[in-house]
């Protein structure tokens, strides 16, 4: 960063000399320019955060009717609102279900995909490319194009309204296998050769060499998978009828229905929204470095 600042300054100085201006003038112009950029960036950040900021403020009010900026002063009902949403309206149950679903999918996908990626990178066997294509091809089959027949299948298996239905169908992941494969390919081949010579088996190699060497990527894909699973709406909506098994996203739509009929205040809907936003947001902020690193692998 310091280097680029220096080059930019040198370049600026160069140009100002040829234009017959002093270096200090150029530096001042450079600083004003940076200031403008910062003001612009701050404005954009503000606009992007604003809707959630409003929602957060509304979640602290009793009724939550805010029809002008002046109504936005935070209210004193934050604690009672969140308590009412979590306990009174049993939102804790939706949150817990979402959490269990997400953790199960993350852990399951991670194990299943690690095994698949291990085989695809470190095994020699016939039709390997066909197998890899078979896995990659599932990218063409997102939930929306198959949820109707999947619903029939799950119902016929007697699995609708079960934890099974909102976890197992998610366990195969072309994206995760692909990211892990790319990452394994960037690990020197000599490592596995040494392991082989030393008589280390594939699972041991996976556990004590690959996993420790892939920590950042594993955290990154876990965050991606968690956000993806936590935010699922369509599939739980159609396959889960029992409220006791329902997830937070669909729980929100129940709150929305109650708000439009006047059963609960809008502040309650915003309280639920903030609760639902919190877990994935916290993970993104905590693990932003690993997440960004993993995304750059995905695109290759």
């Amino acid at each position: 960063m310091l280097g680029s600042l220096l080059t930019a300054l040198t370049a600026a100085a160069e140009r100002s000399r040829s234009a017959g201006r002093t270096t200090s003038e150029r530096i001042r112009r450079f600083e004003t320019e940076q200031l403008t950029l910062h003001v612009l960036a701050a404005t954009i950040v503000f606009l992007i955060i604003l809707p959630v900021l409003i929602a957060a403020l509304v979640s602290t009010k009793r009724a939550g009717i805010v029809t002008s900026i002046g109504d936005l002063a935070p209210g004193g009902h934050a604690l009672s609102n969140y308590r009412r949403a979590l306990i009174g309206l049993e939102f804790w149950r939706f949150m817990l279900n979402s959490f269990l679903m997400s953790v199960a999918v993350v852990v399951g996908k991670l194990v299943v995909s690690l095994l698949a990626a291990l085989v695809i990178v470190y095994y020699r066997f016939p039709y390997k490319n066909a197998v890899f294509l078979f896995i990659l091809f599932t990218l063409l089959l997102p939930v929306p194009v198959r949820f109707v027949p999947l619903y029939r299948l799950t119902t016929e298996l007697g699995m609708s309204n079960t934890f099974f239905a909102i976890t197992v169908p998610y366990l195969a992941s072309a994206t995760t296998v692909f990211i892990l494969r790319q990452h394994f390919l960037s690990i020197p081949a000599s490592l596995v050769e040494t392991a082989k010579v030393d008589g280390v088996g594939p699972l041991r190699f996976l556990w004590s060499v690959l996993v420790p060497m892939s920590r950042a990527v594993l955290v990154g894909v876990s965050v991606i998978m968690f956000v993806y699973t936590w935010n699922q709406y369509l599939w739980p909506l159609v396959i889960i009828n029992a409220e006791s098994l329902q997830v937070a996203q669909v729980g929100l739509s129940l709150l929305r229905g109650q708000a439009s009929t006047g059963e609960v205040a809008w502040s309650m809907v915003m309280t639920g929204s903030m609760l639902t936003l919190l877990p994935p947001l916290a993970l993104l902020v905590l693990f932003r470095r690993q997440l960004l690193e993993t995304f750059t692998i995905q695109q290759k």
């Binding site: 600042l5 409003i54 016939p126 027949p149 994935p280």
Partner: protein, 294 residues
């Protein structure tokens, strides 16, 4: 690569691959094949299935309601792609040009990647509500009658804004990474030549990061088609009068409001073909652009 393939036990390989293969086969491939089969039947949960051949597809082709839904989906996805990418490009460029505090701005801008679509929909429903929305009175002061619960084009725009808001962050992640990979020397040369900022972005950076842009066009199109389901469901229910009835919502209603599973399967097959064409397009395009993408 071949030097890495040190393990040769085929049985082991098969066992380790088994979980991924079984789940893919049972929950991904089989339902897709089944959708094709089911699309040839008149099927509902209550009554048995009756084979009707291509009748469902004939019905699709002649349904003006469905064709309208196709048009709305394409228009909506196009607006999402253009809106998201224009905003994200400006934001990414801005962050790229800033010297101090890049990391903070980046997180402050990309967080909506984690935002649940249902939350995005509800928050926008609330702040843009025709009766109790916080911005409603200000917008109406400009002479616009905010009534998107009954005004189709307005509803389309409100859902679009919510959709763009949620998706910009995801695009910024990839764009800033791509901009960060542009060789420093190119920027310096452009600066020494006195190329203005905007021209530098459009003439130097955009061509270099075009493989990323192609990738994002596809991802945003798929998002526009599918990722906005929760927003439509919570904000407009496809209305008013079908103005936001995008294909995925139309499909959902066919299956779970009217319980026409055969007809819904035909619609699923159409979506599958659309996704396939998009992915194929990305594959071909990124192949072509890869030469100067590096």
């Amino acid at each position: 690569m071949s030097t890495r393939e040190v393990f040769t036990d085929r049985l082991q390989a098969g066992v380790l691959l088994l979980p991924t293969m079984v789940v893919s086969l049972v929950f991904l491939y089989y339902p897709t094949v089944r959708a094709v089969g089911l699309s040839l039947y008149r099927a509902s949960l209550a009554r048995g299935d009756v084979f009707v051949g291509l009748e469902n597809y004939r019905r699709l082709a002649s349904s003006s309601e469905y064709l309208r839904s196709v048009l709305i989906s394409v228009l909506f996805a196009a607006c999402v792609v253009v809106g998201v990418m224009a905003v994200a490009l400006c934001v990414s460029f801005l962050i790229h040009e800033i010297d101090v505090g890049k990391g903070v701005y980046l997180v402050a801008v990309i967080w909506p990647y984690a935002l649940p679509p249902a939350v995005a929909g509800l928050v926008f429903l609330f702040i843009a509500h025709p009766n109790i929305g916080i911005f409603t009175s200000y917008i109406e002061a400009f002479g616009v009658d905010v009534n998107w619960f009954s005004n189709g084009p307005q509803a389309f725009v409100v859902v679009l804004i919510a959709a763009v808001w949620k998706q910009v962050g995801y695009n910024v992640i990839f764009m800033t990474a791509a901009l960060g990979n542009v060789p420093e020397s190119l920027t310096e040369t452009a600066e020494l030549d006195g190329v203005s900022r905007t021209r530098r972005l459009l003439r130097v950076y955009v061509p270099i990061i075009s493989p990323t842009l192609v990738f994002l066009v596809i991802m945003n199109t798929i998002y526009g088609f599918f990722g906005t389901f929760a927003m439509v469901d919570l904000m407009t229910k496809g209305g008013p009068a079908g103005a936001t009835n995008i294909l995925i919502y139309d499909l959902y209603r066919t299956a779970f409001q009217f319980y026409e599973f055969g007809f819904a399967s035909a619609k699923s097959v159409v979506l599958f073909v659309a996704v396939g064409l998009l992915m194929y397009g990305q594959f071909r395009l990124s192949d072509r652009y890869a030469y100067y993408g590096g």
